[in-house]
């Protein structure tokens, strides 16, 4: 009998295609950045040529936000990285790197704390319908409270506990546990009926079903949550640094440079760029781990 003659349904694309795909992604992202730059500088040039006013249908609008004092040239922002942040101090980029790494470290700690708590909550909710009904509304409610209102309290409490360094990771964790809980819960409970029945025919235990079916089934969704959490943990860390009075992070840099915005707008923009890069770096690291862990074919890509 001739077996093995059937061809795989959809063979893995050959490697040159993958390289072309990656090249195309790179090309498109460069194009987008260039377009945004063009829009930025074009807007400034247009506003300057029209004396910072625009008349549409007889109404004149003030567009002075495009002037150099409000919206610096991209070249000025780029130059700001190399200039001293303070008089006779180190160049801004050096300061931003050390501040960025400081904040990133707090964000990573918060990400881990939030991830673990979020995961445990999801396990509890998946296991007990009662717990899910009783507790999930409060978990949702926790995210509607502005983090800015909670951050100072956490700082005060952690200060009393003599552990003020932990305040920033905890504030970051407050933002990161939620997506992990929601996505993991969905992944654990959205198991195909027959996949579950298969386990029943083996008389598998709850633990075996969890480890061999529910968790692997949830992994793609868990990684979706972790990617969201990675970026929001950076935001959480920056917000957490403000009431903590921590002097080494990006939070204080943003606070200072916005205070002196009128003297030198490019420095705040440069800091924003740095914060964005930190978030992207963290996101990319999680995405890389995802690619290493999930080697199978996932139909619904988030």
């Amino acid at each position: 009998m001739a077996a093995n003659t059937a061809q795989p349904a959809s063979p893995r694309p050959a490697s040159p295609r993958i390289e072309w795909g990656q090249f195309r992604v790179l090309f498109i992202s460069i194009l987008i950045v260039a377009a945004l730059g063009l829009f930025w500088e074009g807007g400034k040039a247009f506003a300057e040529a029209n004396n910072y006013t625009l008349t549409i249908a007889g109404t004149t609008i003030d567009i002075s936000l495009f002037n150099d004092a409000q919206l610096p040239h991209l070249s000025d922002i780029a130059r700001a990285f190399g200039e001293p942040a303070q008089r006779n101090g180190e160049p801004l980029y050096q300061m931003l790197i050390s501040a960025g790494l400081f904040t990133l470290w707090a964000a990573v700690q918060g990400f881990v704390i939030g991830g673990v708590i979020g995961f445990i909550l999801a396990l509890i909710f998946a296991h007990s319908r009662l717990m899910q009904r009783g507790l999930l509304p409060y978990v949702v409610a926790s995210q509607t409270v502005p983090i800015l209102a909670i951050a100072p309290m956490i700082v005060i409490w952690m200060g009393r506990a003599g552990n003020v360094e932990l305040a920033v990771p905890i504030i970051a964790a407050y933002l990161t546990f939620f997506p992990v809980t929601i996505y993991t819960l969905r992944g654990l409970t959205s198991v195909p009926q027959t996949a579950l029945e298969l386990m029943q025919t083996y008389a598998a235990s709850h633990i075996q079903i969890l480890i061999k079916l529910r968790l692997p089934n949830a992994l793609p969704q868990i990684f979706t949550a972790l990617k969201i959490s990675a970026t929001s943990s950076v935001v959480g860390a920056i917000i957490g640094e403000l009431p903590s009075g921590i002097q080494n992070g990006l939070g204080i840099a943003i606070l200072n440079f916005s205070r002196y915005y009128n003297q030198s707008p490019p420095r705040l923009f440069a800091t924003i760029v740095a914060a964005g890069l930190i978030g992207m770096l963290f996101f990319a690291a999680v995405a890389l781990v995802e690619r290493l862990v999930i080697r199978w074919h996932v139909n619904e890509s988030p």
């Binding site: 059937a6 349904a9 008389a203």
Partner: protein, 275 residues
């Protein structure tokens, strides 16, 4: 001992027994669906029994009752001398679903190893048996592929290998080849027959829509009537063993096929069935 003699000798012990089994499902809007009514059926060890009937006659439900995936509303299901629930705990039967139900994150080999992992077989034993089963379903060389890389027929073969890996006494198959094209289906039928020959005394219960398939494979065909499912007729298939392409040319093959068809049609006419 020839296959024929072995089969004859094997038809002594009753492996599956259903006594006055009825099943009523209560669906969401509160109405009751009467799926099976007063089913009495004995399956002897080593038999290959096909369940055939129009859609919705409860033939899948019958199989799921034996697997203890659903429980009867009344009556008793005895599997290998135990209640269906006990038999599930002692893993007396392997189940093959209509869709292969492979786990996406496991390779072909690891999918076949799944039941052995659940049953705590040692690592080498798992590996050895899984490879042996894959060879049996002619998928040697595909051990490290992922399910999405296989065709539908190959996926179903993996799921059969998985069901056989722990050597259950009973194989329950719920329209396993229903989604396959005719050519692949015929090949799978032959493969299944040779597996059944290889597994001494394994009993098979096979749900199908296809009259030809039922007659070709089975030692006994159970024809079910439309809802509520009742046993309309039990037809013994006395075609010579082992079966092969020549079976379809046997005089009795045509006779038996039309007998099954008449049994089905009689009940469809009676109940005004629309298939």
């Amino acid at each position: 001992m020839s296959t024929k003699a072995r089969r004859k000798q094997a038809t002594v012990t009753t492996i599956i027994s259903l006594k006055n089994v009825s099943k009523t499902f209560r669906i969401k809007d509160g109405t009751n669906v009467h799926a099976l009514d007063d089913i009495n059926l004995d399956v002897k060890e080593g038999e290959f029994v096909s369940l055939i009937g129009p859609s919705g006659c409860g033939k899948s439900t019958l199989l799921r009752l034996i697997a203890d995936l659903v429980q009867p509303t009344s009556g008793t299901v005895t599997v290998n001398g135990k209640s269906a629930a006990q038999a599930r705990k002692t893993r007396d039967s392997g189940f093959v679903f209509q869709n292969a139900t492979l786990y996406d994150w496991r390779t072909v080999l690891k999918n076949v190893e799944l039941p052995l992992e659940i049953m705590n077989f040692p690592r080498e034993e798992r590996d050895r048996r899984a490879r042996e089963m894959l060879e049996l379903v002619e998928l040697k060389g595909f051990e490290n592929k992922y399910p999405w890389q296989l065709s539908g027929g190959m996926q179903q073969r993996v799921s059969i290998a998985r069901a056989l890996a722990f050597k259950p006494r009973i194989l329950l198959m719920d329209e396993p080849f229903g989604a396959l094209d005719e050519m692949t289906r015929e090949r799978m039928n032959n493969e299944l027959l040779s597996i059944w020959t290889e597994f001494h005394e394994m009993s098979v219960m096979f749900v199908t829509h296809s009259i030809a398939e039922a007659v070709y494979l089975s030692t006994k065909v159970v024809v079910l009537s439309p809802r509520p499912g009742r046993i309309a007729e039990v037809i013994d298939i006395h075609l010579p063993q082992p079966r092969g392409p020549e079976t379809r040319d046997h005089d009795d093959y045509f006779h038996l096929t039309s007998q099954v068809r008449h049994a089905l049609r009689g009940h469809m006419a009676q109940h005004g069935f629309d298939e």
